[in-house]
Symmetry: C2
Subunit: 201 residues, 2 copies
């Protein structure tokens, strides 16, 4: 049992070392030797845990995806009764969980569009789920919104979440709570003021 725990601990240490290496030097210099050294294990140990660096990167992406996703459970949304508050809460939680760990946040934000690595590909999928979740909340705010308008406002919400996380990481925004609330209110006002499906028809 304890051996199993130790093995899991080493695997986590290797995943952390991968994140740290990408954060410091980018994907170009990512070798199993460098990662093993940073994790404090012998290089062959890397292959006890992962088939290849690509497989390890998939696990890094999956692990980070789970962390970022945890703040966005539908249960949490159901507790609030007003749709606008649900939206504000979703933006706040999502931005908050993104900036929680600087290393994770920086590697995510820098690589989320990189289609040449397993990290970027997995994170494109994660961004897609986030966008879909935001679209659903926008429709709660304005049930008769034209589909294109709901989709557009979901795009804007996700852009703002990533933008606010970047600004916070780079030290350009102080009160993240006030910032996320301003951002989500801007979107709520905008979605409420666009013409409805009936108007557009």
């Amino acid at each position: 049992m304890s051996r199993q725990i130790n093995k899991e601990r080493t695997r986590r240490r290797l995943l952390q070392a991968i994140l740290k290496t990408i954060q410091r030097h980018g994907l170009g210099t990512l070798t199993t030797g460098r990662v093993a050294q940073l994790a404090g294990v012998a290089q062959p140990t890397f292959y006890v845990h992962f088939r290849s660096m690509d497989q390890a990167l998939e696990q890094v992406a999956e692990w980070v995806a789970q962390e970022l996703d945890s703040g966005l459970s539908p249960e949490a949304a159901a507790e609030l009764d007003r749709a606008a508050e649900v939206l504000e809460e979703a933006v706040r939680k999502c931005t908050g969980s993104l900036v929680q760990d600087r290393k994770v946040a920086e590697v995510f934000l820098s690589n989320r569009r990189d289609q040449t690595s397993p990290l970027g590909r997995r994170w494109s999928v994660l961004t897609g789920s986030l966008r879909e979740r935001m679209r659903q909340i926008v429709v709660q705010v304005r049930p008769d919104a034209a589909p294109a308008d709901a989709a557009l406002h979901a795009e804007l919400l996700v852009s703002m979440i990533f933008g606010l996380a970047e600004a916070q990481l780079d030290g350009r925004v102080d009160g993240l709570d006030r910032a996320t609330s301003t951002a989500s209110r801007a979107i709520v006002t905008s979605i409420l003021s666009t013409s409805s499906v009936a108007d557009a028809a």
Copy 2:
């Protein structure tokens, strides 16, 4: 003279080949051999034009920065009299010039935060200028805005510009003009509805 033009043409072809290589395979596999082959020149020719790959990357970053910057001249803004229209026009021009060339746009969006490459470092500076330009326009819209609010709305504008460009590149947004106008109006409404410096005092 014609020899000078030929030299410039080869230099451009090499820069294009660098962009194409990053777009297809990422920064990790960027070698002078691969770039020269794609540009249709012998590998030593690369060093006729650039001291190193890093110097070539700086030139790629600079060249793209100039292209993206051209849409944001203060002269263009002075032609319009209403500040809200200036803002809408700036968002439209900026998003438009970003998506004009898919290769440029994808490499820019994927690498703009990568502090491990000359591309990312130069593009961080470019993003900073864009943010400052947006902040100035926000202050035009609302001269008594609290500095923190002006800065926050500039952050949101830049996030939206990058987000709309991504959505357009990925085929998720049809009418870019309508989308940029919705985005900039949301920000104008928000900046006009936040409490003024006097209120905050």
